[in-house]
């Protein structure tokens, strides 16, 4: 099941007829019935909104915007959550410790331990975008691209090498946004070359051959001393990567933990935006843009052909699609977005290394978060990635985390309690601190066994449709 692109056991299982199967566009009806229902339900509220409009003739427009806002309610909520998250963390972790006599209660430390820190949230963005691009080809077209790390790496290396002036025709000092697009285009072309060979195969063989290509590129980059003086460590980027509009300084923001822009007392509101926060928002915007671009493609006639190929390639061919070129195009687009993720990763880190980009375990991370989030759902991998990074944050002691929290809050007597020569502190240090990969493996196994549709896929099954379509109707029910 883990590597099967089919999301449901085939045959006539007795799934609920309304069930969308967790598939983004399974229901093809042009108008969504749920929306129509909710429209009736909210007729009264709408009318009030309309009368509040200054000019009555604007009613049509108001209606349209209300409808639009309702269609995108789920998006607004998710984007809102991620946009407000840094503030939320700042407030919650800032709650002062309270002395209640016999002990102190420190909710701030608790939140610090359990809410992912900003560095993890930024990692979530790269990984989320990379996993979305992986899902784009694997979840929608049904071809598992196990060599996806190659495209991530290409994006990363192109921006770093371009910044260092190592790419022949690209002048040194070309804006990061342009080299990012260059990297994405290179990845697109490489994907076409790899695809031309690989799409002769299907299933496991396709996965294996793409993995093979990626490993060849990995070894090549690791040993090619043109890319870096120490190719095994990879090149470092000179200068900072700036996200924004190229050549417009006021609309470009440097990213990076140290090199990033920071702003003090923004708009006189007394809010400071650190370099990390600038990076978070700048990268987040790019990820958001890429998400909407991919979603657009998925919901287009082209996207429907991708789904048709996943569902039944033989039949797709028989109804008149030259499936080879559709697969090639989907693969190329997927590589394009993977490279954007890689470029931002390198831009934020200020360097790229073969092991953090081209290596096959990078693809494995994308696979894991895609399964956890829901394969065949575009936003799912982002939630999977959030889950992944949260777990990593909790189990590492880098920024907050469970181990330091336990070490500090548990009474000394309990920590040093000794059973057969092993203290409780030893246990914490051994099984909690920095053990994220172990637990992730376990979580992954549990997900494959018990939540095969992933987080978002299961929510969709529950709601009986995509969240964006069903959520407004559900909320209306509670409003009455």
């Amino acid at each position: 099941m883990a590597i099967s692109p089919t999301r449901r056991p085939d045959g006539d299982d007795d799934t609920d007829a309304r069930g969308d199967g967790g598939t983004e566009s399974a229901s093809g009806q042009p108008a969504t019935d749920s929306l129509e229902e909710s429209q009736v339900a909210t007729d009264t509220t709408e009318r009030t909104t309309m009368t509040e409009e200054p000019g009555g003739d604007d009613a049509e427009g108001a209606h349209w915007t209300v409808q639009y806002a309702r269609d995108h309610l789920a998006h607004v909520l998710v984007i809102g959550f991620f946009a407000l998250y840094p503030g939320l963390v700042a407030v919650l972790t800032g709650i002062p410790a309270l002395d209640i006599g016999f002990t102190t209660v420190d909710p701030g430390a608790f939140f610090d331990a359990f809410l992912p820190a900003m560095t993890f949230m930024i990692a979530m963005l790269f990984l989320g975008l990379f996993a979305m691009s992986f899902d784009f080809i694997s979840g929608y077209t049904g071809y598992l691209s196990f060599g996806h790390a190659a495209f991530y790496g290409i994006g990363a290396y192109v921006v770093v090498m371009a910044a260092n002036g190592d790419i022949p025709i690209v002048p040194e000092g070309t804006p990061f946004m342009l080299t990012l697009l260059l990297g994405a285009t290179v990845a697109f072309l490489v994907a076409l070359a790899i695809g031309a060979v690989s799409f002769r195969l299907t299933g496991v063989y396709f996965a294996m051959i793409t993995l093979g290509f990626a490993q060849v590129i990995y070894e090549l980059v690791r040993n090619w001393d043109y890319v870096a003086t120490n190719p095994q460590e990879g090149p470092s980027m000179s200068g900072a990567a700036e996200i924004g509009i190229p050549y417009v300084d006021s609309l470009s923001f440097a990213i990076g933990r140290l090199a990033g822009d920071s702003f003090e007392n923004v708009l006189g509101l007394g809010i400071d935006i650190s370099a990390t926060l600038t990076s978070y928002y700048a990268i987040g915007l790019v990820v958001l843009g890429c998400y909407f671009a991919m979603q657009r493609i998925i919901h287009s006639p082209f996207g429907r052909v991708m789904i048709a190929i996943r569902e039944n390639e033989e039949r797709a061919r028989a109804v008149g699609y030259n499936v080879f070129w559709y697969k090639m195009a989907a693969f190329g687009m997927s590589a394009f977005f993977a490279a954007i993720a890689g470029a931002m990763f390198a831009g934020y880190r200020g360097s790229a290394s073969p092991d953090s980009t081209f290596y096959f375990l990078v693809t494995a991370d994308a696979l894991i978060v895609t399964i956890v989030g829901g394969i065949g759902t575009l936003a799912g991998p982002l939630f999977g990635s959030f889950f992944f990074e949260s777990l990593e944050d909790i189990l590492s002691s880098q920024q907050g985390g469970l181990a330091p929290y336990l070490r500090e809050t548990l009474p000394e007597a309990m920590l040093s309690a000794d059973v057969a020569g092993i203290t409780f502190l030893d246990v914490i240090n051994t099984v909690v601190d920095g053990r994220a990969p172990l637990y992730l493996g376990i979580v992954f196994v549990l997900f494959v066994l018990f939540v095969p549709n992933g987080l978002l896929g299961s929510v969709r099954d529950r709601l009986g449709g995509t969240v964006a379509k069903r959520l407004p109707a559900h909320l209306e029910r509670y409003r009455k």
Binding site: D12, T15, A26, G28, Q29, R296, R304, A308, N312, V323
Partner: protein, 323 residues
């Protein structure tokens, strides 16, 4: 005529599945292809649609749109024809009404050679098929199953990846009309995998219809359908046969005898007989193929095999291949 095959042969490692078949299909005709299991019927379809490449022989095709293009050229190049028949429509009517012999335009009517065409090419040219084993898009809605097939025939629509699919109203309208025709309109929003077997068989035909076919190849549309539902499938076939040339593989002899204009009988890859239903019913060669088999003295001696011919044929076939 819309479809020809000449000496069409397919060999698989020593087994000749289709053996030198010369066959032609008239426009608007409903021709059934029958024969014992393993006679090569489905292989024949696979050759026609380009799924398999023939070992030998040729397949030619004359789709309506191509024919019109040919006639248009005839009108352009021959002033004689142009004087007599002002438009392509006139010319077509004259040909179909037998007021003008086919020979008059023969030099412009060039058939398409589809011998080496791939499945999507034959489909785009108007040769569509349904499958013996249900072959739909399982986890998308019934409507989407048909819509995506409609979309394949709308030029470059499928490559418009920046427009929302809902903007293409005509795809939906046509898909809904097809669902209406195959009796699935009320199931449009259901997932294809949740349909009953009989409904899936109808969807099979619906997907094949979506491509505006010139020739429709139906591979056992009633396979596994309960006897009550067979009539409904038959109605659909008869309905679509009014619009397209249909080739039908079928084991249900009642259906075959009832609705066919012509029947072609394959046995061990060879076309052993073709003709009107009554003629086939009388044919000794056909009875021999169905009831006797080749090493089948014993089977004949057994005597009771009559309507159960298909099962018998199946049993015979296995022994044939083994031998």
């Amino acid at each position: 005529m819309v479809l020809w095959t000449q000496d069409l042969t397919k060999e698989f490692d020593g087994i000749t599945a289709v053996d030198g078949v010369d066959f032609s299909l008239e426009a608007g005709e409903l021709c059934s292809v029958i024969g014992p299991n393993g006679a090569g019927k489905t292989t024949f379809f696979n050759l026609l649609t380009g799924v398999l490449e023939p070992t030998r022989g040729q397949i030619e095709f004359m789709p309506t749109t191509h024919r019109r293009a040919c006639l248009e050229r005839a009108l352009e190049e021959s002033s004689e024809l142009a004087d007599e028949h002002g438009s392509v429509d006139d010319l077509e009517a004259a040909l179909d009404g037998d007021t003008l012999p086919n020979e008059a335009v023969a030099e412009w009517l060039e058939q398409l050679d589809i011998t080496d065409a791939s499945p999507h090419e034959t489909a785009l040219q108007g040769l569509h098929r349904s499958y013996q084993i249900t072959n739909v898009f399982p986890t998308v809605s019934v409507l989407e199953n048909v819509r995506v097939a409609v979309q394949a025939h709308r030029g470059n629509d499928a490559w418009r990846f920046w427009r929302n699919v809902n903007a293409f109203d005509d795809h939906y309208t046509e898909a809904e009309a097809i669902l209406e025709r195959v009796g699935l309109a009320s199931y449009a929003d259901r997932l294809a995998q949740n349909l009953s077997h009989g409904e899936k068989r109808n969807l099979e035909i619906g997907i094949a219809l979506a491509g505006e076919p010139d020739v429709l190849l139906l591979d056992e549309p009633t396979a596994g359908v309960s006897s009550e539902d067979v009539d409904q499938v038959t109605d659909i076939i008869e309905d679509v046969a009014g619009d397209y040339a249909v080739m039908l593989i079928e084991h249900n002899m009642d259906v075959v005898m009832d609705i066919s204009d012509r029947i072609a009988v394959l046995n061990r890859g060879e076309l052993i007989e073709q003709g009107e239903p009554a003629q086939i019913r009388q044919s000794e060669a056909v009875q021999q193929a169905y009831l006797g088999g080749y090493d089948g003295e014993g089977a004949l001696g057994g005597g009771e095999a009559t309507d159960g011919g298909e099962d018998k044929g199946g049993a015979d076939h296995t022994s044939e291949v083994a031998g």
